[in-house]
């Protein structure tokens, strides 16, 4: 009986998770993944490029900066709209 109740409780929890709106579930992914990816490019540029004095890795720095800056430009108004909607 306890096991059945537990299962029911957990299934409700799971249903609750998936019934969340997809855009709200995706918000942390949209915000943080580009930052992590751009940091990966920066790491490659700094570790293999700047520390070794190899300017070939400047490209990674450019791509990392573009991904980070470009995403911030569109993510900030997105987050503002998100919090405004949540207040409503």
């Amino acid at each position: 009986m306890v096991g059945v109740n537990m299962m029911r409780k957990n299934s409700f929890k799971l249903y609750g998770l998936f019934s969340l709106r997809q855009e709200i579930l995706l918000t942390p992914v949209i915000v943080f993944t580009p930052l992590i990816v751009s940091l990966l490019f920066f790491y490659n540029a700094i570790y293999n490029g700047f520390l070794c004095g190899n300017m070939m890795y400047l490209g990674e720095f450019f791509v990392g900066a573009t991904v980070m800056f470009g995403n911030l430009v569109f993510t900030i108004p997105f987050l503002k709209a998100f919090f405004k909607l949540r207040k409503k």
């Binding site: 949209i30 915000v31 400047l58 791509v63 573009t66 991904v67 709209a81 909607l85």
Partner: protein, 214 residues
């Protein structure tokens, strides 16, 4: 839909667009051992899964077939995100990174920038800014290309990207064209110069991580 929700949906689309620049992480994985096969499989499988999902959505085979952020005209055709995915997959799998990187960056950032500016400053300014931004992405990537391609290729690429954005078709989204038009134009030039034995491509700008690190 309340106004706040409309604004949120608008910026959600823009943020998803910019988010897609992360596809460039593909180049950071080294082309060794199982990684080559895995990364290619991930690209193909991701597009295939979303294509199946879109077919099911259009045929209303899934319960909640309304996706937040999709436009009204996308109700009965593939969503623009799938077109973006198909375009990016073609670029990643079949084009050299020197052509694919600025094309994907252009689709990720130039398209939403033009979309924003078009309603605020008018078409002419929006397309001029779009061209300049695209030119910047191509110029940086083609900086080390042999002369005169370091000048010609960015202009062709930026021109193709803006044409891809301007031209509207009912069944083909601009997210696909903005990537493929510059890539195909430069791809043709690449093949022609290859036939003539002329060096065309610049050096790669994304270098893979060392295999021991992955």
């Amino acid at each position: 839909m309340i106004p706040e929700e409309k604004t949120f949906a608008h910026w959600y689309r823009r943020a998803i667009h910019a988010f897609s620049a992360i596809f460039l992480v593909y180049y950071i994985f080294p082309d060794v051992y199982w990684i080559t096969v895995t990364k290619k499989c991930v690209v193909v499988l991701t597009v295939a899964v979303f294509a199946v999902f879109e077919v099911m959505r259009i045929r209303k085979l899934i319960k909640n077939h309304k996706i937040f952020g999709l436009r009204e005209y996308e109700e009965n055709r593939f969503g623009s995100y799938l077109y973006f995915g198909i375009g990016a997959a073609i670029l990643l799998l079949f084009f050299p990174q020197q052509i694919a990187i600025p094309s994907i960056l252009g689709a990720a950032f130039v398209d939403p920038a033009i979309g924003e500016l078009r309603s605020k400053t008018g078409k002419m300014t929006a397309y001029t800014v779009g061209f300049t931004l695209s030119l910047f992405f191509f110029s940086f990537t083609w900086l080390t290309a042999p002369f005169p391609f370091s000048f010609i290729a960015p202009v062709i690429g930026a021109f193709g990207a803006v044409v891809g954005e301007i031209k509207k078709f009912r069944w083909v989204d601009d997210d696909l064209l903005i990537q493929l038009i510059p890539a195909v134009l430069l791809g043709i030039l690449y093949l022609l110069t290859g036939l003539l034995g002329v060096a065309f491509l610049p050096s790669e700008i994304i270098h893979p991580l060392p295999p021991w690190l992955v």
